[in-house]
């Protein structure tokens, strides 16, 4: 039998514990947890449309999760996925609204613009870290707010909507990542071509990290910067490139969210998916496939919470609480690992 990887086991334990904690919470407010979970999962999965929406929510999380996970493998903590995603979305929306091109070319240009915008946003903290040793956590948080204010002034000035000052015009169907056959297949769900980008990115990033010399260098810098320097690896170059790629991934998340899931961009909002990406990366153990699983699971929790609320009166915040609890358990995975070890050992002893 092939051994289940520790990381997967721990992630599953964290999820289970998170669900148990959620159940206790539901009990505490006098609801039936079985009913609650039934409607939560039903809300995310009961028909094609709901499945489509779950996957659509997950698409964004996959990309932001990959962004955080990728940076983390190089030893960088990218808190800036939200800002990179926002700028990516702004670039894609701007191109979608203002550049007259035939649809296939337009979509490609939009996606590229999103990626470049995100990459640009990621490159600044990367450069600051490499050149001046400015901590990337500080720099990426600053960049989040710069992105926030750029959108705040750019959208009303150049992309103003017909009725509201606070959001951009709605994208015409021709410049949306939604495509009729997908929409029809899932009964009008928000699912869009961003999904294919996300899946492609999982494959590409996985290959990049595990099979290329570039990935080898990045991971070497991530786990021991001194040894990498000593071996002749260009550490600063690795740091900058890593942040550029992480930013690009978050930028793609922006394209899939603002020009696929949604059809316009609002001002005054930092997308929560950028921060949820940290949770996704953490639960997914910074592994591209793990990110996929974690993003799908969190997508499900987000997609089903409204339905659960409608059917049972359990507040949708329970979903967020479960996510938060899972994060706690993942962060303390060392403890869980030890507990698992203990259980396994007891079992072995008992079996003797």
């Amino acid at each position: 039998m092939k051994r289940i990887p520790d990381a997967l086991l721990m992630a599953m334990a964290a999820v289970l514990l998170g669900l148990i904690a959620g159940a206790l919470l539901m009990l505490a407010i006098g609801s039936n947890p079985f009913e609650g979970y039934y409607y939560l999962f039903r809300g995310g999965l009961m028909n094609m449309q709901r499945v489509g929406n779950t996957i659509a929510l997950s698409t964004t999380l996959i990309l932001t999760g990959l962004s955080v996970a990728f940076a983390f493998r190089t030893g960088l903590f990218n808190i800036g996925a939200a800002g990179q995603m926002l700028i990516g979305g702004l670039c894609a929306t701007t191109v979608g609204l203002l550049v007259p091109l035939p649809r296939p070319i337009l979509l490609v240009v939009m996606v590229l613009a999103a990626m470049l915008g995100g990459a640009l946003w990621g490159s600044v903290p990367g450069l600051l870290k490499a050149k001046f040793n400015v901590h990337e956590v500080v720099a990426t948080i600053m960049m989040n707010w710069i992105a926030y204010w750029v959108v705040y002034y750019f959208v009303p000035a150049y992309l103003k909507g017909q009725f509201l000052e606070t959001e951009s015009r709605v994208l015409p169907a021709a410049s949306s990542l939604r495509t009729p056959w997908l929409t029809d297949l899932f009964n009008g769900a928000y699912l869009n071509m961003g999904l294919f980008i996300a899946i492609a990115m999982i494959i590409i990033i996985r290959f990049l990290l595990n099979r290329t010399t570039f990935g080898y260098e990045l991971k070497a810098v991530g786990s021991n910067r001194d040894a990498a320097l000593f071996a002749g690896i260009q550490v600063n170059r690795s740091i900058i490139l890593s942040m550029v790629i992480a930013g690009g991934l978050a930028g793609l998340a922006g394209a899939s969210f603002y020009t696929g899931y949604s059809a316009n961009i609002q001002i005054g909002v930092l997308p929560i998916q950028g921060f949820d990406g940290i949770a996704v990366a953490l639960l997914g153990a910074n592994n591209p496939l793990g990110v996929l699983g974690a993003a799908l699971f969190f997508g499900l929790l987000h997609a089903g919470k409204g339905f659960m609320n409608a059917m049972t009166g359990i507040p949708p915040e329970i979903s967020d609480t479960i996510i938060a609890t899972i994060i706690y358990f993942t962060a303390t995975s060392l403890l869980i690992g030890r507990a698992l070890d203990y259980v396994v050992r007891r079992k072995k002893k008992g079996g003797k």
Binding site: R211, Y216, S223, F230
Partner: protein
């Protein structure tokens, strides 16, 4: 009272290994009792049991003829047992006093002054020469260790455990420490000295318990036993301290350092007008007290720092402004001083570490894509050739290897690059006798193959054993270069303090 501490028939198992198998350890009052064994023999385990960090599966512990259970370090402290850990447990930006009273602050009001007075008194009593108000990051490593000792004395410990205490010390500091230990037992303390350095045991210890692979091999009186006998007990076979070395005439100059000046991070010039030549087929040993510019010299040669002025040539080619990678490709290999920090990437497997400097070449990669098969084969070859032992061969994470095997892996990787000049910095630091013997042989082999070797070491024994010529550095300056056959330890020791030959 015949024994102050007795550990009787202790057994401790970890999943898959028996770390301690029926070990009995008896410590007499007012003795220095050495605990000798190779890395991984079980020394740390048994001491951790005594200190309450692990629990024995079987066996009993008696302190002053009373059976005790020690379930955590506080119990050990209450029983008067204290430990100086290999890696100090001090808060860098606290003062000596603050560090010592940490955890014992007592009531709501912190009375630093009274504590400091008591620390001063203890320091005077045992002549530790410690200023209670000095900050930890301002005092030397040797003094930090004495703070650790004071910490135990402050807690009224009378059984003191020293875990590999000399690894971080200069030869002088080692000597001072030995003296302090002798003073401590005169004042009624008992000491357990964990080490694998025979010379120190010979110098300080009264009795010595030898452990090999979790079992007690024997207890000997140090004064009736030679170092060779103890080494044989520890390793389980005869060991030679002297490396066999044929005389050779050196060839062309390979490494040529000319009037090198290097500033350290604080803009202080720590290598001054340094010139040294290393020829093909010779080992030059650079002797010096730690912190006299060796680190900066190594960084300058390997390209980890920029130089202020001067030239470094390999085979006549100036490398002083090349990148680290270009220097490696020019024929420089480097066994670093700190294998954890610089030598290996602990999360990477042995196989991945073995190509740390060559991964970007075929056959290990083509067009940027790694060739895992070639990497694994390469690792398998080096593991075989350099006797690197590990649980899962090439696929073991480097962090899971023992120190000796980590070092063998690094030595293997660097020698396999077939360098013209091998820079070996403290190549055997912290290793046991078996691994030292092995690595020394490999260095001599390089020399015999006609390669140049520059070895930087703080251990004079090692330098005298291996080097054909000895260069001495003091305060960043080259004091002199002498033939090993025409000098002795005293003369080199004197040069290390800055005196030139003939001027003292």
């Amino acid at each position: 009272m015949e024994y102050v501490v007795e550990m009787l028939n202790i057994r401790k198992e970890f999943p898959g290994v028996v770390a301690n198998d029926d070990i009995t350890l008896q410590i007499r009052p007012m003795e220095i009792h050495a605990l000798l064994g190779e890395n991984g023999a079980g020394k740390s385990t048994i001491m951790s049991i005594l200190f309450g960090m692990y629990h024995a599966d079987r066996g009993e512990i008696r302190v002053r003829n009373k059976k005790v259970t020690i379930s955590n370090p506080n119990d050990a402290t209450d029983l008067g047992i204290g430990m100086v850990h290999q890696h100090f447990k001090l808060v860098e930006n606290f003062t000596v006093t603050e560090n010592i009273i940490l955890g014992l602050e007592g009531s709501q009001v912190l009375n630093r002054k009274r504590a400091a007075e008591r620390i001063q008194a203890l320091s005077d009593q045992y002549s530790l020469k410690i200023d209670p108000y000095a900050r930890i990051d301002e005092i030397s490593v040797g003094m930090q260790q004495r703070v650790e000792i004071l910490k135990m004395l402050y807690r009224n410990a009378d059984v003191l455990i020293f875990d590999e205490p000399t690894g971080v010390l200069t030869p002088q500091e080692v000597h001072e420490l030995m003296q302090i230990m002798k003073d401590l037992i005169k004042e009624g303390k008992s000491i357990i000295l964990i080490t694998h350095k025979l010379k120190e045991i010979k110098e300080a210890a009264d009795r010595c318990s030898v452990i090999r692979r979790g079992k007690l091999v024997g207890v000997v009186d140090v004064k009736d036993t030679t170092e060779k006998q103890m080494a044989a007990m520890m390793v389980g076979r005869e060991v030679s301290f002297k490396v066999e070395k044929e005389p050779r005439t050196a060839g062309e100059i390979v490494l040529d350092i000319q009037q090198l000046n290097v500033q350290n991070a604080r803009k202080y010039r720590s290598v001054k007008e340094f010139s040294l030549q290393v020829r093909a087929g010779e080992i030059v040993g650079l002797a010096g007290v730690d912190g006299n510019g060796q680190k900066e010299l190594v960084e300058a040669i390997t390209g980890l720092c920029t130089i202020e002025s001067g030239h470094i040539l390999i085979n006549g080619k100036d490398i002083s402004s090349l990148s680290v990678r270009r220097r490696n490709e020019t024929g420089l290999a480097h066994i670093p001083e700190d294998r954890h920090k610089h030598g290996l990437i602990m999360d990477y497997t042995v196989a991945e570490n073995m190509v740390l400097k060559t991964y970007y070449h075929p056959p290990y990669s083509n067009y940027g894509v790694l060739n895992e098969k070639a990497i694994a084969q390469h690792a398998a070859k080096l593991i075989e050739l350099f006797d690197v032992r590990s649980g899962r061969g090439a696929f073991t994470p480097a962090g899971k290897l023992s120190g000796g095997n980590q070092q063998k892996a690094i030595v293997g990787r660097e020698i396999d690059m077939d360098p013209d000049i091998l820079l070996a910095v403290q190549p055997t630091r912290g290793l046991d006798v078996g691994a030292i013997e092995y690595i020394h042989k490999r260095l001599v082999e390089q020399r015999d193959k006609g390669k140049a070797v520059l070895m930087i070491s703080l251990e004079l024994d090692e330098i005298f054993n291996l080097a054909d010529r000895i260069a001495v550095i003091s305060n960043g300056e080259l004091i002199d270069v002498v033939d090993t056959s025409e000098t002795n330890e005293e003369e080199v020791g004197l040069m290390m303090t800055g005196y030139k030959r003939g001027t003292a």
